[in-house]
């Protein structure tokens, strides 16, 4: 085998995958980027040869889109915070259990990940509806029926349910690397359990919490089915607005612009966060 054919081998091996990703990922993304600059005529649709910045100007100046983006980002931020506050302790509690409970309950927490998000949204719409189980419980403690369905509450609750596994997984993984001896040493040196948790456990699972937050925030900000089914017609998030632009308003260039702004915002958040985290931990690890 000559040197040049040997150098080509990995490209032959990944050729089919590369072909698929070029044709169905790189080309369509480029086409969409071009489309977002095309002039849109309500009578005839997008005009291929004419370009404008109008759609981006629209997205950045129209208060309607400001409202949508702001709502999407605060809901995603709050969902991320709740996932940290629930997912990290849950992973810790699970990691301190004994088998078989430990593996069974871990699967119970993680397995809903594999069930379609439409099914889970439907489940929450039943639980949170005016006659649902949650309102039934609230009535028992004397709080009148609370309107949750088609409000931010339903969207946030269901998003936490969908995202929680994405927080538990990285925290669990970093907990597995934790040396129980260090924890025991702290306790035997008379650190209180709380101090041990704060000074020993927390710093070591911090990378897991941070990478979990990143995934949760990104997925929540671009979530479609949950706000679509539980937010109703008025409570729009970025993804549902893009869907409307495409399939109801038929203004593809504007929809493409909104989608690409979302993609860019997501990538910026992820990359800057990544850099921040990496910088901190490189320093901490020397």
């Amino acid at each position: 085998m000559s040197a040049s054919t040997k150098a080509a081998t990995p490209w032959w091996l990944s050729g089919p995958a590369l072909l698929l990703f070029a044709a169905l990922l790189l080309v369509p993304l480029a086409l969409t980027a071009v489309l977002s600059f095309n002039v849109y005529d309500p009578a005839t649709g997008p005009k291929a040869g004419e370009f404008t910045l109008e759609h981006y100007a629209h997205v950045f100046t129209d208060s309607y889109y400001h409202g949508i983006f702001w709502r999407t980002f605060w809901i995603s931020g709050l969902v991320t915070l709740i996932c940290v506050l629930v997912g990290a302790p849950e992973a810790y509690v699970l990691s301190r259990m004994r088998n078989p409970w430990r593996s069974v309950l871990l699967l119970v927490v993680l397995a809903p990940l594999l069930v379609s998000v439409v099914v889970r949204a439907f489940g929450w719409s039943m639980l949170l509806g005016p006659e649902g189980a949650v309102n039934g419980l609230l009535r028992l403690v004397g709080i009148g029926p609370v309107k949750m369905l088609y409000t931010e509450i339903a969207v946030i609750v269901a998003l936490v349910h969908v995202m929680l596994p994405f927080m538990v997984i990285p925290v669990w993984t970093s907990l597995q690397k934790l040396d129980a001896g260090v924890e025991n040493a702290a306790l035997s040196l008379r650190a209180s359990p709380f101090t041990t948790l704060r000074r020993i456990v927390l710093p070591q699972v911090m990378p897991g919490i941070l990478s979990g937050s990143l995934i949760v925030f990104g997925l929540a900000a671009s979530s479609f089915a949950i706000p679509g089914l539980l937010g109703g017609r008025r409570l729009k998030m970025v993804a549902t607005v893009v869907y409307d632009e495409y399939l109801h308003e038929l203004n593809w260039p504007l929809g493409a612009a909104v989608a690409l702004v979302l993609l860019a915002a997501n990538l910026i958040v992820m990359l800057s966060y990544n850099r921040l985290v990496e910088g901190r931990y490189k320093k901490a690890l020397g």
Binding site: A17, R96, S116, A133, W252, N266
Partner: protein, 264 residues
């Protein structure tokens, strides 16, 4: 190891309840004999399952989703195995780029992929074509197969391969008789994970399906935005059942905990 206190166990019980509640309620309501979404207390009935199986749109979508998931998972596996070998066994310029590219559908929102593919399909006349839809699904499930194939290849002892080659086996024979059997759990695990993810996908599919290729999750999404009745619960329960079967098989061939949280 220290034990969990009562407070920690109560917290754990609450989280578990929270995670299971929507799935349990869906599966119970599916058995209601009533016309409304009520939890059956005295009587259980299969009437809504019968209604689901008699519903031509849902049945068509079910078969669409099933064939789509089978075909796209198979294509994803066929391209991920050689790509995984290229990434794990060769050092070449562009390796990190390829690895990042092949995993990128995990990071790029499915909404953006849906929008982008809709544009492509409109230009090439692929709207409504099942073949293009299969390719689109193969794209989004390839990262799942690739990850498990790479994981299998990384912990691979190559001495058996070298022995086969030194005994005169061809590259093809070596791959078929030595390499493939050794990475088979990763390959089948990846195929199943790809199957589940294709079967459940809704956000991208809603942009690129047409009335004849609507998948089951998309059909359910559209149905639920218009009306909510126990038929939806029955279809949801069936969906949970299909996913659960695939999960049990996945657990047998690869180990569910390994798929979900990586190596133990």
């Amino acid at each position: 190891m220290t034990k969990n206190g009562p407070l920690a166990l109560a917290f754990n019980a609450l989280v578990i309840t929270f995670m299971l509640a929507p799935l349990v309620v869906v599966c119970i309501v599916a058995f209601t004999p009533e016309n409304t979404l009520t939890i059956p207390t005295t009587h259980f009935s299969l009437r809504w399952f019968e209604a689901a199986f008699a519903h031509p749109d849902f049945m068509q979508s079910f078969w669409n989703s099933l064939w789509l998931a089978l075909a796209s998972a198979t294509i994803a596996t066929l391209i991920a195995v050689p790509a995984g070998m290229a990434i794990t066994r060769y050092a070449f310029p562009g390796r990190d780029f390829l690895n990042g590219l092949f995993l990128s559908p995990l990071i790029i929102p499915h909404l953006v992929l849906g929008v982008a593919l809709l544009r492509l399909f409109a230009l090439v006349g692929g709207t409504g074509s099942f073949g293009w839809l299969v390719m689109a699904h193969a794209l989004i499930v390839t990262p799942y197969t690739l990850r498990l194939v790479v994981a299998a290849l990384v912990g691979f002892d190559r001495s058996a391969e070298q022995a086969a080659l030194s005994l005169g086996a061809s590259q093809v024979t070596m791959f078929r008789r030595i390499t493939l059997p050794m990475i088979l759990p990763g390959v089948t695990g990846g195929w199943l994970l790809a199957f589940i993810n294709s079967f459940d996908e809704v956000t991208m599919s809603i942009f690129v399906t047409s009335p004849s290729t609507v998948t089951l999750p998309v059909r359910m999404y559209m149905y639920a935005t218009e009306s909510i009745d126990p038929l939806m619960a029955a279809v949801s329960a069936l969906m949970v059942a299909v996913t659960a079967i695939a999960m049990v098989v996945l657990d047998r061939v690869y180990g569910l905990d390994r798929v979900l949280v990586g190596r133990r």
